[in-house]
C-alpha cells in the first residue's frame, strides 16, 4: 500500500509575544508514516501535542521545521512549505479533518453544513443533500433537526454533525480529533463502523482517541507522542 502521510522531523514552537516573548516548544522530531487503509492512533497525555500534530498535517498550524509529505493527486506535496492555495487544494481533494468542536456558521442549516464539502468539489446540491441526509440518519440526528443550524444543538449532536461533515467526502486522508469524546455507546459504535468503512476503502487515518476500547477497535498502530516531546 502506498504511503499517504510521511512526517519527517517536523517541529512546532509557539512564541507568545504578549507574554514577553515566552517560547513554548510543543513537539520536535515528529517522524511517522501512514499508509493507505491504515489507522494510526496518536497517544500521550493531554498537552503532549497530539492535536497540534493533526493541525500541522492539516496546515492549520505552521510547521517550524521538518517535512510533512502528503500524497495529493498522485504526487507528494510538503505541507510545511506549501503555498496557501496548494494547501486549500489539498483540503478540497485529499485531507478531511474532524476537529474536536464544530465551528458553526451562523444561519446555515445542518444539512448544508454536512453537504458543503461535496458541493465545493462539484457535486450537485440535491445529491450532496441526499448523501448528507443518509449520514445524519446513520448518526441518529433526527430529520426534524436537519433544517436548523447546529449552533443550538447539544455537544454530542454537534459532534455527530461534525463527523458527518468530515466523513461525507471521499478524501484519501482523514484526521480525527477525539471523534467519540461526547458520544453515547450506540453512536460510538456507528463511528467505529464508519471508520472501518473508510479503512476498507483505503483511507489513511490519523486519530486521537482517549477511550481504550475504541483505540483497540480502530488502531492498526499506536504512535506515542511523548517521544516527540520538545520541552527540554
Amino acid at each position: 500500500m502506498s504511503v499517504m502521510i510521511e512526517m519527517t522531523g517536523a517541529e512546532k514552537t509557539f512564541t507568545m509575544h504578549l507574554q514577553g516573548g515566552v517560547r513554548l516548544p510543543v513537539v520536535r522530531g515528529v517522524t511517522f508514516q501512514v499508509k493507505a487503509g491504515e489507522c494510526v492512533v496518536l497517544s500521550g497525555p493531554s498537552g503532549a501535542g497530539k492535536s497540534s500534530i493533526l493541525k500541522m498535517i492539516f496546515g492549520n498550524y505552521r510547521c517550524d521545521g521538518g517535512r510533512i509529505g502528503i500524497r495529493h493527486e498522485g504526487a507528494m506535496i510538503d505541507i510545511a512549505n506549501a503555498e496557501p492555495r496548494d494547501i486549500l487544494s489539498v483540503r478540497r481533494a485529499t485531507i478531511g479533518y474532524v476537529s474536536q468542536f464544530l465551528r458553526a456558521i451562523p444561519r446555515v442549516p445542518t444539512i448544508d453544513v454536512v453537504a458543503e464539502p461535496l458541493i465545493v468539489t462539484g457535486t450537485s446540491r440535491a445529491d450532496a443533500r441526499q448523501q448528507a441526509g443518509h449520514l445524519l440518519r446513520r448518526l441518529n440526528i433526527p430529520e426534524r433537526l436537519w433544517a436548523l443550524p447546529p449552533s443550538t444543538f447539544s455537544g454530542g449532536e454537534q459532534q455527530r454533525v461534525n463527523i458527518a461533515r468530515g466523513f461525507i467526502s471521499d478524501h484519501p486522508v482523514l484526521l480525527l480529533d477525539e471523534p467519540t469524546a461526547s458520544l453515547d455507546a450506540a453512536n460510538r459504535e456507528v463511528v467505529v463502523d464508519l471508520i472501518d468503512e473508510k479503512k476498507n476503502a483505503g483511507v489513511a487515518i490519523v486519530a486521537i482517541v482517549h477511550d481504550d476500547e475504541i483505540r483497540r477497535w480502530i488502531a492498526d498502530r499506536v504512535v506515542d507522542v511523548t517521544a516527540f516531546a520538545a520541552a527540554a
Partner: protein, 266 residues
C-alpha cells in the same frame, strides 16, 4: 475540455500587485505591498483604522494612483495589463462590468432616489441591455437571490433598512457577472443579526459564482467566514500573510497576536 480550460485559467493570476506604495508628503499611508490574487480566491485585508487598508483597496481598484509600484489585471482576453496603461474605455469596462465595488455605506454605491429595480438594471443598461422586460426580469431574479421581496422592486432604497440596502448594493454589483469584487467593510455599521445573514449570503454567492474578492475589514470574524487568505496590515505595511485559519489560529507577529487575543468571546 471546458474543465481543462478552467483549470488552466485558475493557474494564472487575476490580479498582481507589485511594490505598491502611497505617500502623502512625508506620511507613508501604504508601503511596498505585493501579492497575487487568483480567480475564485477571496483575500481579506485586516488591520485597525489608519493601517492603510482602505488606501490599498483604492489603489488596487484604480481609484487612487500609487506613488510607486503597480497593479496588473488579467483582462477577459487573457492578457495581464498594467492598470495605469488602460484607456478610458477599458477602465469603464472594468468599473461597469468586470469589477464590483461594495461600499461600507450603501448610499455611496446606490442611487438612493431611484427604484431598486433601476439600481440593478442600470448596470445592465450600461453594458448595452435595452429590452425593458428582460432588464426587469434580471433585476427581479437578483433581488430574489439577495433575499429582497420582489414586491419592493419599485421602491427606492431610501425606504429600505440598512441590511436590505447592503443586499441591494450587492445585487447591483453582481448582476453583470464580475470576476472580481472589492468590498470595503461590507458589514460595518449593521446589527449583528443582519451581519450574519449578509455574511452567509456573500459566502454563498462568492462560492457559487466563483468570484474573486478583496475584502477590507477590521472584523476578524468576517475574515474567517469569507476569506481564503488574509493580509494583516499595520502602519501602512503588510506584517503577516497566509491562509486565513492559519494566521488566525497560529498568529506569529506580535500585532497579529494582539488582534486575535482581543476578540471578545460571545
Amino acid at each position: 475540455m471546458v474543465e481543462m480550460q478552467r483549470a488552466a485559467q485558475c493557474d494564472q493570476p487575476l490580479l498582481v500587485a507589485e511594490g505598491l506604495s502611497k505617500s502623502y508628503g512625508r506620511l507613508a499611508a501604504c508601503r511596498d505591498v505585493s501579492f497575487t490574487l487568483y480567480p475564485g480566491e477571496v483575500l481579506a485585508i485586516v488591520g485597525e483604522s489608519g493601517s492603510g487598508k482602505t488606501t490599498l483597496l483604492q489603489m488596487l481598484s484604480a481609484q487612487l494612483a500609487p506613488t510607486a509600484g503597480r497593479v496588473s489585471y488579467r483582462m477577459r482576453d487573457g492578457v495581464l495589463r498594467d492598470l495605469s496603461s488602460l484607456g478610458e474605455a477599458e477602465r469603464r469596462f472594468l468599473f461597469r462590468t468586470d469589477w464590483g465595488y461594495v461600499h461600507q455605506d450603501p448610499a455611496q454605491g446606490l442611487r438612493m432616489a431611484v427604484s431598486a429595480g433601476a439600481n440593478v438594471g442600470e448596470r445592465l443598461m450600461a453594458v448595452g441591455w435595452s429590452h425593458y422586460g428582460r432588464i426587469r426580469d434580471a433585476a427581479s431574479s437578483w433581488l430574489e437571490r439577495v433575499e429582497i421581496d420582489t414586491a419592493r422592486i419599485d421602491d427606492a432604497p431610501r425606504t429600505y433598512s440598512g441590511g436590505m440596502r447592503q443586499r441591494l448594493q450587492i445585487a447591483r454589483n453582481l448582476v453583470t457577472e464580475p470576476r472580481l469584487v472589492f468590498m470595503d467593510e461590507p458589514t460595518g455599521g449593521l446589527d449583528v443579526s443582519v451581519q450574519a445573514r449578509l455574511l452567509d449570503l456573500m459566502r454563498n454567492l462568492v462560492s457559487e459564482l466563483g468570484l474573486a474578492a478583496i475584502v477590507v475589514t477590521h472584523d476578524l470574524a468576517v475574515a474567517r467566514l469569507l476569506s481564503h487568505r488574509v493580509m494583516v496590515m499595520k502602519g501602512g505595511q503588510v506584517i503577516e500573510t497566509g491562509l486565513t485559519d492559519q494566521v488566525l489560529d497560529d498568529p506569529h507577529e506580535p500585532y497579529t497576536q494582539l488582534l486575535v487575543s482581543s476578540i471578545l468571546p460571545p
